[in-house]
């Protein structure tokens, strides 16, 4: 069970290898990687800066991870979220979940990214040809998170 908030990039292969090493009870691992797109809302994006609230970010991610473990039987959970300046193609976030059963791995991974998007204190500033703009929260993200209401 690992939460990391960092400026540095992460290596998906190395993280996956460490995540599963020496384990024989895992039936399925689901990973999600979020990446910076070169287009958003129809406009070219040349860079993105992720601001966050140090301290609260870690607390919120830990709370979200604890909630996932309460809801599903998970062998392990990994969440890495970057902050700082990123460019198109750069990795933003990695969520990985391991379980004996694939449904639990899929559901918990999606739950983590959906909750992270509405609860973890990160804000994206996009650089476009028209200047910088703060990304607005999407109703679709609220709807995605609301799916998981108990």
């Amino acid at each position: 069970m690992t939460i990391r908030v960092q400026a540095e990039d992460f290596d998906v292969g190395a993280e996956y290898t460490a995540f599963t090493a020496g384990r024989t009870s895992i039936g399925g691992v689901t990973l999600f990687v979020g990446l910076v797109r070169d287009i958003a809302g129809g406009e070219a994006v040349s860079a993105m800066t992720l601001e966050h609230y140090p301290g609260m970010t870690e607390r919120q991610l830990e709370a979200i991870e604890a909630e996932a473990r309460r809801r599903w039987p998970l062998d392990d959970v990994l969440v890495i979220h970057r902050y700082g300046r990123l460019e198109p193609g750069d990795q933003i976030v990695l969520v990985a979940t391991a379980s004996a059963h694939r449904d639990a791995a899929f559901d918990s991974c999606r739950f983590l990214i959906d909750w992270l998007k509405t609860k973890a204190p990160f804000w994206k500033l996009e650089a476009t040809p028209d200047g910088e703009r703060w990304v607005e929260a999407k109703d679709s993200d609220d709807a995605a998170a609301a799916r998981w209401a108990e």
């Binding site: 998007k117 609860k119 703060w134 990304v135």
Partner: protein, 83 residues
């Protein structure tokens, strides 16, 4: 009380953090936001639409009726957009 601002709330207000002496009658998050609006035209503009002003107290999301105490760390920010 220490107040932190993030994202466009920070850029509109012009400072990332400020320390304020709360009047005794400001006992909730909602009352704090209303009181902060009176501090400057920049505050008033940044905090005008409460729908997009979210508040965390001691690093937990809270609603506007959440009570305040003098030692709280209070953060104001727009809806989050990470992931």
């Amino acid at each position: 009380m220490k107040i932190l601002y993030f994202a466009w709330l920070r850029s509109k207000i012009g400072v990332p953090t400020e320390t304020v002496d709360l009047p005794a009658e400001v006992t909730t998050v909602g009352a704090l936001v209303d009181w902060l609006k009176t501090r400057s035209p920049r505050h008033a503009e940044a905090l005008a639409n409460s729908k997009v002003v979210k508040v965390a107290v001691n690093q937990e999301h809270v609603p506007y009726d959440h009570p305040l105490s003098a030692t709280d760390e209070v953060a104001l920010f727009p809806p989050v957009t990470g992931g």
